[in-house]
């Protein structure tokens, strides 16, 4: 690595004096990179964030920010000296200060510079003219944007986002998320987002780190996490999944209830296990259109959930295996229709648990 990383975490172990919550985490965030730490609640992701911020003292391990050691067995830099910006859950705006006061909180004593900077920040988050507003007068999305402006005002070298969108409603969430993403891409501050929302992590981050039981299980670009999950657990966590029992493996082709499917990644070593596909890899064809073509497994449509841009169709194969299929737009099928299922692309094979 040519440049110093914005953040480097080496073998970090954190506990609250009791059992370890974070157990040996390594993480590397490059300059200008946006990384998401994705994990279910209780996976230790927030604890990891708090340790990076300096709110918690780790049991062991190293934290480096911009090449500077802020935490190891001998060094301990308190949070106020780490130059980290944090957007906490719910924003946590100071209720006794107005918007300008909140944004100026981390700035120096130079009044003129502060006023200018506050105006710049408000412009940046599209809240011009709201200097005098009180936090309780703002909507949830505005509060989050002020919290972001407050965190970015002192020009931190690293930004930490602690589930900043979880308190917003869906429409607003998408909007605030998009704004924040383009804003961060523009100013290029290295960012760590902690979230339990896989869609959020996959759509925002340059790289995603999946965390479970205090460990990071896989780090990679969003498509890699989605298409080549390292474990069945990750595969299940990062999106809808079709799981098919495998009877036999022939070279790199697995025999499944929907027929032979190519196995991606490393050549399979086991002769059985679970083959996983994403629902959009399956194609449904109504039986009546197929006439004499025998390819594809037959099944019957059990339920359809229609989302507008796509729909998810639950099909039960003749041997009883449930399969869900994602189609763009509507599938043109009805519950009870007999269908054939065709597979595109390769699946992943995991050994039986």
């Amino acid at each position: 690595m040519s440049n110093a990383s914005a953040l480097e975490v080496i073998d970090l172990v954190v506990g609250y004096g009791g059992p370890e919550i974070v157990r040996g985490v390594c993480l590397d965030v490059a300059e200008h990179e946006f990384i998401a730490i994705l994990g279910a609640s209780g996976s230790g992701k927030t604890t990891l964030l708090r340790a990076i911020a300096g709110y918690l003292r780790p049991e062991s391990g190293v934290v480096q920010i911009n090449g500077r050691v802020v935490s190891d067995s001998r060094t301990w830099v308190p949070p106020e000296k780490r130059h980290i910006g944090i957007v906490p859950q719910e924003g946590a705006l100071f209720p006794h200060l107005d918007v300008a006061g909140n944004i100026a909180f981390g700035l120096g004593r130079d009044k003129k510079a502060t006023v200018t900077r506050v105006r710049e920040m408000l412009e940046m988050v599209n809240l011009e003219g709201l200097e005098q507003a009180r936090p309780h007068e703002l909507s949830g999305g505005q509060q989050q944007r002020v919290a972001l402006a407050r965190a970015l005002a002192p020009q931190p070298s690293l930004l930490l986002l602690d589930e900043p969108f979880s308190s917003l409603d869906a429409a607003l969430r998408a909007e605030v998320r998009r704004d924040m993403r383009s804003l961060l891409a523009e100013i290029g501050t290295a960012t760590v987002l902690v979230t339990h929302d896989q869609e959020e992590a996959l759509s925002l981050a340059d790289r995603v780190a999946v965390m479970s039981q205090g460990r990071i299980e896989q780090v990679g670009e969003p498509w890699a996490i989605y298409e080549s999950p390292a474990t069945l657990g990750i595969a299940r966590f990062v999106g809808d999944l079709v799981e098919l029992p495998v009877n036999a493996v022939d070279g790199s082709v697995a025999q499944t209830p929907v027929g032979p499917v190519a196995v991606g990644g490393e050549p399979p070593t086991s002769a059985g296990g679970v083959l996983t596909l994403r629902p959009e890899q399956l194609v449904l064809v109504a039986d009546r259109q197929l006439s004499n073509d025998v390819s594809g497994a037959s099944g019957r449509v059990e339920a359809i959930s229609y989302h507008g841009h796509d729909s998810l169709t639950s099909v039960r194969l003749t041997d009883g295996t449930p399969v869900s299929v994602r189609s763009t737009g509507g599938s043109g099928l009805r519950v009870g229709d007999d269908v054939r299922i065709l597979v595109t692309g390769a699946g992943r094979l995991y050994p039986d648990e």
């Binding site: 911020a53 300096g54 709110y55 308190p78 949070p79 106020e80 000296k81 780490r82 130059h83 980290i84 910006g85 944090i86 906490p88 859950q89 719910e90 924003g91 946590a92 705006l93 100071f94 209720p95 006794h96 107005d98 006061g101 909180f105 981390g106 005098q132 009180r134 936090p135 309780h136 703002l138 949830g140 509060q143 407050r150 965190a151 002192p154 308190s167």
Partner: protein, 514 residues
Amino acid sequence: MTAIPLLYLIVRTTGAGWQAIVDSLFRQRTLETTLTSLGLIGLVIIGCLVLAVPSAWLLARTNIPGRALFLVAAALPLAVPSYVMAYAWIAEFPWMSGLLAAALVMSLATYPYVAIPLTAALRSIDAGHEEAARSLGLGPLAVARRVTVPLAWPAAAAGLLLAALYTLSEFGTVAIFRVDAFTRVIYTAYRASFDRTTAAVLALLLVVLALVLVLIEARARGKAQRWRVGSGVTRPAPRHRLGRWGVAFGLTWLIGVAVLALGVPAWSLTQRLLESQRTTFDVTELLGALAGSVSSSLLGAALALVLALPIAILAARYTSRLVRGIEGAAFLGHALPGVVVGLSLVFLTLAVVPAAYQTLAVLAFAYAVLFLPKAIGASRSSIAAVPPALESTARSLGRGPVRAWFTVTGRLAWPGIAAGTLLVVLTAMKELPATLMLRPTGFNTLATELWSRTEIQAFGSAAPYALAMILLASVPAWLMGRWLARTPEDEAASGAVDDDTVRTDDITYVGGIR
């Protein structure tokens, strides 16, 4: 710190030998005293709830006219020493005596401890909680029972605990109404019969009772989550619009309570004051006593604040057993009657630092020990009301731990902390037995002058001191009422938005008197 008087008690008691302890513990008299004190506490708790709950609801949740005024009226009884109140009542109604009379006067004197924090708590409960409950199909009464009461309960419980402990250690009122509660029996044993073993044993029993009260309060408070979950900033509940009859009933109630708690003592005092015109009256004596009251109570309050803040900060953020223990021990100071703290400090100073005997420093220390719980209670709950995320965010924005605390948590909690310190000043001004024992020779406070005149039945010449004391103590009570009266919507209505003087959100944290 608080343990010092307690340790002396234990040393003193065990020194007398087990036989003597067992003898004094299992006398008929001991049981009677215990039952009397418990009965008095029970009656005072009922009295406080009856007086405080409707008043707090009216002031916090309705548009009843004159709220600011009635809030001041609700705080004012704190400025009237309960024994002055007792004396005023008995001077008007000489037939009053016994348990019920004492309970009435104690309730009137202590209900502000419940009414004021409860008003603040009702004001600061987020409207969203109650609205959510309504949407879940609960009627107004069910909302009150299942949402409002549980949320406001910690404030009321802490207030009731204070009232109960106050009652347990009150000496003047029970003496005036000739109720043989612990303090009177102990005092009599100390002073009259020189039977100090019995007194010490009873005092220890008193401490045990107080410990039970503290434990009950701790359990009532439970592991309630003390900071709000939910987005954004608290929005106060809208005020209930009263109809014509509602206003009439409400005003009748509030005026009625004010008449009982303030009107009767004021009337009686005025009568005595008119009598005192006929006696000679020395202004310099009064001024000297005034200076004594102010200096000693301010010193005591400052010391109490210094001792209380670290405990309050720990207790608000961590609920470990150790912190609970420290907090509980500090609360015990409140249950040690002034008599016991006074005498044990006399003993201690004579034994350890004779030079400090009867100095202002020891008197201030006694006040700090006695009133530490007040300072802790107020500071703790107002600190707990500030979400910890605010302070950690301030840290990440470059403020060191101390600055972050002062600019965020301390800044938001200060109304509660200040209110707690004011309570200490008020109560220290009213303190009597410990002041009598520990004051430097020739050092007089309003309380001691008032007492020495009351003791010789010179009610007329005592009246100016009582009045001066009430006036002096009214100032902080008035300020406290003003804080509470100031709510966001009132500010918006008056259009006064000035960053330095108006603090929109402070009201949320005044909840803090708990």
